[in-house]
């Protein structure tokens, strides 16, 4: 059976941990809002899908992860990258298509990756990540590292066969894998209430022999709690978990989307559910952190993100010769 995690659950985060969580979420928010603005200038090429609004999911899950652990992401990948520690300056440069980007400008927004950080890449293919996560979870198991692997995917991706069969495989092989369904209500312009023929994505867990959990994806603490349990179980050899985050994306499916298919969910979410606002209110109320410390984080993050844009804009484009490199390790 699926269970719902209460929103006031916590997992003993000390002030440093809380600060880290806040910094992650704030960095994602700032980064995405800035990319939104920069995109509007016309200087960012290609398709860009923003994660703003969903920060608690990436931050709450990745707070439990370390260098043993891997994550796979989606076309909406910036947030997962930042939460897993990918360099923000290198990310921004990548999105601008610069030689200084984390992928040398060859990947772009949809393919940001940093394998050295265990970040297996944003992915242009819906449902592309879950099979890969079975593999990195398998590697962790074979190598006995205690590592876990997390697949982030959307409600739309939850209907892709690759995602579904990966859940089964993860159970059959008893892998240290966690499946995080980020149900933001839409796949492009299609409502998840229509495309997912079940009340909840988490209801699918039972059919694949794993626990299914539903979480308020705006609530960092709820996410952190649920993810903590899943990570603990996975590290202890207890197998995979499916966690469904209920949340909302603040921007369109991609930059340029007119969003006529939506109601006023976004306004409502921004005003009453926002993960950053709620986090802030709570930790200040409990006295765990002061408004000043949080403000300081805000300033640091703003400087970091602002600087990343400046450096990206100033960075060189890739050299023409790069067109032909990096296809094979060796080919002759």
């Amino acid at each position: 059976m699926t269970e719902t995690i209460p929103t006031d659950a916590s997992r003993g985060l000390d002030p440093d941990g809380l600060l880290r969580a806040y910094r992650t979420m704030r960095t994602i928010r700032d980064f995405e809002e800035r990319v939104h603005d920069e995109f509007a200038t016309g200087d960012i090429p290609g398709f860009v899908h923003l994660y703003a609004g969903e920060e608690a999911s990436a931050a709450g899950v990745c707070q439990h992860l370390d260098e043993r652990d891997t994550i796979a992401s989606t076309h909406r990948g910036h947030g997962h990258c930042i939460a897993k520690g990918v360099d923000v300056t290198g990310m921004m440069a990548e999105i601008f298509g610069r030689a200084t980007g984390v992928c040398k400008g060859k990947g772009g927004s949809m393919h940001i990756a940093d394998l050295s950080r265990g970040m297996l890449g944003a992915n242009g293919i819906v449902g592309g990540g879950p099979p890969l996560v079975c593999g990195t979870a398998l590697a962790a198991k074979q190598q006995n590292t205690g590592g876990v692997a997390v697949a982030f995917f959307g409600d739309g991706a939850s209907n892709q066969g690759t995602t579904l069969e990966s859940m089964n495989l993860a159970s059959v092989w008893n892998l240290p894998a966690i499946f995080v369904a980020e149900n933001n209500g839409y796949a492009e312009a299609t409502a998840s209430t229509w495309s997912v023929a079940a009340d909840n994505i988490a209801d699918r867990a039972a059919g694949f022999g794993m626990p299914g959990v539903i979480v308020d994806g705006f609530d960092f603490f709820a996410v952190h709690e649920a993810a903590g349990e899943a990570v603990e179980r996975a590290r202890a050899g207890g197998g995979p978990t499916l966690i469904e985050m209920k949340l909302t994306r603040y921007f369109g499916h991609f930059e340029g989307d007119q969003q006529t298919y939506r109601g006023d969910e976004v306004r409502n979410a921004r005003e009453t559910l926002d993960c950053l606002t709620r986090f802030r209110r709570r930790v200040v109320e409990t006295g765990e952190l002061t408004a000043e410390r949080l403000d300081a984080v805000d300033r640091e993050v703003a400087a970091l993100v602002g600087g990343s844009v400046e450096r990206a804009r100033a960075a060189p484009a890739p050299d023409g010769a790069d067109l032909l490199t990096d296809v094979y390790v060796r080919y002759e």
Partner: protein
């Protein structure tokens, strides 16, 4: 009556006219209407590039949104085609074929043969291909050689609004499975298109430009660049004949060989990567049936053997351009043993 409309509108019009003409024609794909189940507008998108926009309201119940389950819904289109429907299904970007190719090449393409001739599967699979939108490695591929390789499929690459409409009309009326490749960078290209329905037969190349010095065979999005190159070549005294095969399967080998008989020189322009490509396929035709006509090495102008890069400068180098085509044509013309 011909008017100037876009490649996008031409495809939309062909589908609309066939839907009006034949109740068996239905449309399906991710957000082909858009807005399903949501609180906002219906027909919110008309497909990610707006190609099927407006059909939802004009043909109630006949434009179906789908979950992101390409195997299931492409397979559904194929299954429905065996029972009297003529589905037009969208595999959004051809890059996504990898999650549903089985239904296309093992099911649709083989039914008729495996079942001893007792199957008719009139399905159209619309798909977008090509680079130029800075969409990077998984949203920019050409991949039509993979489909051309498969017996049982027909593969269509319109190079203009006029062709897009006529070939789409033919695709829908055709009784075999057709994969219809729309170049994603061409949707806003405009051209003269008759208002009334018409078909362009498959396997009949269009000679887009006549010339007797060199034959340039170009596919889909490359036709315009080949014509551009031909203009440049003309100013240096080389008359290129530009052939637009319009379908890669069937391929009009006759028109290509006839042109080769006159020019003796061949350039093939193919946006796909070079190995086992259409460029290779046409070059092989020249090396075989066309050998006696050939007076210079065949020049293949293709993308390199690499994925499609993201960065604008790299992507511009990736896709064959008029300059490279013109250089290849010159090399063919200048060559002597």
């Amino acid at each position: 009556m011909a008017r100037t409309i876009s490649y996008r509108e031409a495809i939309n019009e062909a589908i609309a006219q066939e839907m009006a003409r034949d109740p068996a024609v239905i449309v399906m794909g991710e957000d082909n209407a858009g807005g399903a189940g949501g609180p906002g507008a219906e027909d919110a998108w008309g497909g990610v590039m707006g190609v099927t926009s407006g059909l939802y309201h004009r043909f109630p119940g006949r434009v179906l949104d789908t979950p992101i389950s390409e195997s299931a819904f492409i397979g559904a289109a194929i299954g429905a085609a065996t029972r009297g429907m003529r589905p037009v299904a969208e595999l959004m970007f051809v890059d996504f074929m990898g999650v549903c190719f089985d239904q296309i090449y093992n099911q649709a393409a083989k039914f008729r043969y495996m079942f001893g001739g007792n199957a008719v599967t009139p399905v159209v699979i619309r798909t977008m291909y090509g680079a130029g939108l800075r969409a990077a490695a998984q949203h920019s591929q050409a991949l039509y050689p993979l489909f051309t390789h498969i017996p049982g499929l027909k593969v269509v690459l319109p190079s203009s609004p006029y062709e897009a409409k006529g070939l789409m009309t033919q695709a829908i009326r055709d009784d075999d499975p057709v994969v219809f490749f729309e170049h994603k960078a061409m949707y806003d290209t405009t051209g003269e298109v008759p208002e009334e329905p018409y078909t362009i037969p498959f396997g009949e190349a269009e000679t887009a430009r006549e010339g007797s010095d060199v034959t340039v065979v170009a596919f889909g999005g490359m036709v315009a660049r080949a014509l551009e190159a031909a203009d440049a070549l003309a100013s240096s005294g080389i008359e290129a004949e530009v052939i637009d095969p319009r379908t890669t399967s069937p391929l009009d080998t006759e028109t290509i060989l006839e042109s080769l008989a006159e020019t003796g020189r061949l350039v093939v322009v193919d946006e796909s990567t070079p190995r086992c490509s259409m460029a290779a396929d046409v070059a092989a035709l020249a090396a075989g049936e066309g050998f006696a006509l050939l007076r210079a090495p065949v020049q293949q102008v293709t993308a390199p053997h690499t994925p499609v890069p993201f960065s604008a400068g790299l992507e511009d180098l990736y896709v064959p351009d008029a300059q490279r085509i013109a250089n290849a044509a010159k090399a063919a013309v200048d060559w002597s043993r």
